[in-house]
Amino acid sequence: MRSRDCKNQHYGDEEMKAKIRFFARFRELLGTDIITDPLAGTTLAALVSNIARNNKEGYDAIFDEHGNFREFVILMQNGKRVETADAGTIMVADGDEIAIFPPVAGG
């Protein structure tokens, strides 16, 4: 984490932290409550896909073959719903909590 300080100089003294919470099956594959320190200017989509790349099955569960969020995935930023289609243009802010949830269908 400290080793990144030199990069951060480009953006002043900002040191960002964001927490990623995966739910249900996503959690099994990717873990949860992952604390990351994204660079300023990181989008929600980039943040989630960077973490999800740690596990191929996890990544494939969330993203399609074009790298887009699967359309049923629920993405939340600080408890507010974000359209996954907009996740590529919304920036992560310091202290953000990002939740990614797969709805289930069975009965």
């Binding site: 049923f72 507010k80 797969p102 069975g106």
Partner: protein
């Protein structure tokens, strides 16, 4: 009016909500869509709580592979219509209530009539297309929709109050892919019981509903969490310019 027999039968829950609450249950009509994994605990708990009229709809036949979770049905019911089996079990649980068990497939054409003047709709389905239909009719009729769904050890539930909370399509605009889902019977046990609790609270005006909150159950880690859910102003079903929202006149 409650009979002496009813007073005795419901004594322990009337400690919670009194004569008034019990009468509300007795006068209520609840529609349950599905007599499977979720429909089983939902219908059993609503029946024993004394919900006066229960309509339960299913089009299926009991299969041996249902028995790990669909506790309305037993070995001797294999091959019977689920509605026949459900009716028999629910009558055994509570002979004092009215049970309509309807063997049909829910469609956009028959749903309005099937639900009739029910006071609430409980989701015990296994697919999103029918859930979208149930949501729309609930909005039309301005009655609550008690959503639940499960897969494996996971489940989710929320209570939709038309005009007040986000609707089902606000929360789930896109259906997850259809698949044969794994399931251990205790999971619909957890979620169905949450849904039944919501119905009882709604009818007796107790507590705080899962309104605007998605309850998320993770049985793998035994964690229950909630996700706040908001209305989607652009929702094609309940968003501005479609169904008129109504913040008064609902039962809550």
């Amino acid at each position: 009016m409650l009979s002496e027999r009813e007073r005795e039968r419901y004594k322990r829950q009337m400690m919670l909500f009194g004569d008034e609450g019990q009468e509300r249950l007795k006068n209520a009509h609840i529609f349950i869509a599905g007599a499977g994994g979720l429909g089983s605990p939902i219908s059993i708990y609503l029946a024993v709580a004394g919900v006066g009229t229960i309509t339960i709809v299913d089009m299926d036949v009991v299969d041996q592979s249902n028995l790990n979770r669909q506790i309305l049905h037993t070995d001797r019911d294999i091959g019977k219509k689920k509605t026949v089996s459900a009716l028999a079990k629910l009558r055994e649980y509570n002979a004092d209530i009215t049970i309509n068990a309807i063997d049909t497939t829910i469609t956009g054409d028959n749903l309005h009539e099937l639900i009739g003047r029910a006071d609430g709709i409980v989701d015990a389905m296994d697919n999103y297309p029918v859930r979208y239909l149930l949501n729309r009719v609930a909005l039309d009729k301005k009655i609550p929709f008690f959503h639940g769904a499960i897969s494996g050890f996971y489940g989710q539930a929320t209570t939709i109050i038309p005009g007040i909370t986000p609707c089902f399509e606000c929360i789930f605009p896109k259906a997850p892919p259809k698949a044969v889902f794994p399931v251990v019977g205790a999971t619909p046990g957890v979620i169905g019981t949450v849904q039944a609790t919501e119905v009882i609270k709604y009818l007796t005006k107790q507590g705080e509903l899962l309104a605007g909150r998605l309850f998320v159950w993770d049985g793998v880690t035994s964690k229950a969490e909630e996700i706040a859910v908001d209305k989607n102003e652009a929702c094609p079903v309940c968003g501005a310019g479609t169904v008129k929202t109504n913040t008064t006149g609902t039962k809550k």
